[in-house]
């Protein structure tokens, strides 16, 4: 067990000790899940094609916990399990809806960025690669850039357990550790790469074992525990900012839904959300908040209702925006 694990266990044994802003983390997770629920409604209404969305239900704590530790000018390369990362990093909800609706309200002004190419440099969202694993070297390059420019910005690179097996990780992780670049590699291990299980595809059961091969710490956490995520990423960010280089964090979670909406999931036993409840990061945070008496059930209901209104307003605004005209296809290719 690494030092980080020990520290983490200690903090979890005494939840009141952690500095995690639990109320804020809960709010962000509810916003992520509520946003996704509204997107699914767009799909059932026929506004958005279902097959290109990879729902993130169950993963909310990773995005919320990690991004809460970051500054506005820190970078993220997100993965395409849900839209939690970009929501937590501060991309306006309307812009994210607009990207799915393929209209000019989107962050990409109508390019139909969907789950892969939402971007917003003003909050450090650098976009994403549709070829899995190509984000690794780009994240290392962004971290190189902050060192070169003499800032202390860090870059968090989120990826799934499936992508963990891609070759670019080796080149990027080697360079990042060699040069002590401020990167935090966060693997969201939900056990499945579409229909292929981790057991079928991966040489080690514990992905953090790979960290030693690059001379960086590896920290395995319960990715449904938002406090654990916040604490582990905080420590990794502090380490990165002071010039001690990258950390590999593996956060274990459950993927509540299929890979895409409409996935038959013939490869695994289907479970209802209720059956996932012990692995539901939002339910878990709710229990903890009650236990610590940070909010009452009534407070939480009020918060949920206010977020529903916020999401609905964003949905209505986004839906009203027009699709771009043909000229859009020729814009933005060259400066």
């Amino acid at each position: 067990m690494t030092e980080a694990n020990v520290a983490l266990d200690k903090q979890l044994a005494e939840p009141g000790v952690s500095g995690a802003p639990l109320r804020q983390l809960f709010e962000t997770m509810v916003r992520i899940a509520t946003w996704e629920q509204r997107l699914l409604q767009f799909m059932s209404e026929g506004h958005v094609a279902a097959g290109f969305y990879h729902p993130g239900r169950g993963h909310e704590a990773i995005a919320a916990g990690a991004c809460e530790t970051l500054r506005r000018d820190d970078y993220i390369m997100y993965d395409h399990r849900g839209c939690g990362h970009v929501i937590a990093k501060g991309v306006p909800l309307t812009a994210i809806f607009g990207d799915f609706l393929e209209n000019v309200a989107g962050s990409t002004r109508g390019m139909g960025a969907g789950i892969v190419h939402i971007a917003d440099p003003s909050v450090g969202v650098l976009g994403q690669s549709g070829t899995l694993g190509a984000s690794f070297p780009i994240a290392a390059g962004a971290a190189f850039s902050s060192v070169y420019r003499g800032t202390d910005q860090v870059c968090v690179c989120f990826f799934g357990d499936g992508t963990a097996n891609r070759g670019p990780f080796h080149e990027a992780a080697n360079a990042a550790s060699l040069w002590k670049l401020p990167v935090i590699w966060i693997c969201e291990n939900n056990g499945w790469a579409i229909s292929t299980s981790v057991e079928q595809s991966t040489s080690v059961a514990d992905l953090t074992l790979r960290a030693a091969g690059y001379g960086m710490p590896g920290v395995r956490i319960d990715g449904t525990d938002v406090v654990a995520v916040y604490d582990a990423v905080s420590e990794a960010v502090t380490r990165a900012r002071r010039g001690d280089g990258p950390t590999l964090i593996e956060a274990t979670v459950d993927r509540f839904r299929g890979h895409f909406m409409g996935d038959s999931e013939s490869y695994r036993d289907k479970r209802s959300d209720a059956e996932f409840s012990d692995r539901d990061p939002i339910v878990r945070a709710e229990r903890l908040i009650e236990e610590l008496a940070l909010m009452t059930q009534e407070d939480m209901q009020r918060l949920r209702s206010s977020i529903r209104q916020e999401v609905e307003a964003a949905a209505v605004e986004a839906l009203a925006a027009p699709k771009p005209s043909r000229e859009r296809i020729f814009e933005g290719l060259y400066k």
Binding site: Y75, G106, S107, T108, R109, G110, M111, A113, H117, A119, D120, P121, L126, G127, S129, G130, T131, A134, F136, P137, I138, A139, A140, G141, A142, A143, F144, S145, S146, Y148, R149, C155, G167, P168, E171, A172, N174, A175, L178, E331, G332, L333, Y334, K335
Partner: protein, 341 residues
Amino acid sequence: MTEVTYEARQAEGASTRQLSFAEAIREALAEELERDEAVFLMGEDIGAFGGVFGVTSGLHARFGSRRVVDTPISETFIVGGAVGAAITGLRPVVELQFADFAAVAMDELALKAAAWRYMHGGLFDVPLVVRMPEGAIGGAGPEQSQCPEGLFSNVPGLHVVVPSTPADAKGLLKSAIRSDDPVLFFEHKVLYKQRGPIPDGEHLVPIGVADVKRQGDDVTIVAWARMVQLALDAAERLVADGVSVEVVDPRGLRPLDQDTIISSVKKTGRAVIVHEASRVGGPGAEVAAVLAEHALPWLAAPIVRVGAEDVPLPQSAHLEQFVIPNVDDVIAAVRRVMGHA
């Protein structure tokens, strides 16, 4: 577009500095490193060692290891990392040790560098230059001898630049470094030691503008990189036959300066396209198609393409010479379009 001819510049060369192609590239790199703090170099063995072809020699000593960065053997990281640096405010100039290694970093070149700005709605600049030594040098084999620029003609978002003279190399590289778009910069290895005149002072050559390297009336040869010298040598030898050859160097394939090529062929009525890459599916096909679309009624003879045989480059230097085009091949092609074959 420049009105100065190749001969005029050669004559002028007597009174200007002479540099080798490699020295011209080094001078461009040094000037841009000096001019802009955001510019840095990254690649394998490019630091104190100076690169396997010596192109970056002395730059590490002058600019230090922050600006001239030796990397692990990691083409995917070199290009992908450069994309990450470029979208966050730097201007990386990276070297792939051999242009053939583009295949290793193809995703990074064709889908990341090329498409990052477009697929993210134009939100990012990608001011990135990838320098790639290319071409057959006698025995380097199929994975260290190719001229892969044609592969990237089909990749929107990139600029593809292929200089043939030291002056063009310097001026085009400086323009490439100042561009906010990704530029693939191909340097033929045989040219590295060839010398030519370099204009004094700030010298910039715009990307996507062809240069007429020799004026003529009967045949247009479109050629780039090392093939320009072959075309000029062929033109010189064909004077004896009474054939007047014009040599057009597009100096790059993307954007392709169609206007200069088309107007030259409309003038001469005959076209020969010469490149070192394989003829089948090679970049000459695009040039031929442009001419077929825009200049067919002006053509007095079918277009002829000269390129490598349709095989990988053999490792044997002896066999290599039978694969890539030589001056005799160019002369034979010109005679064919002249009806003398």
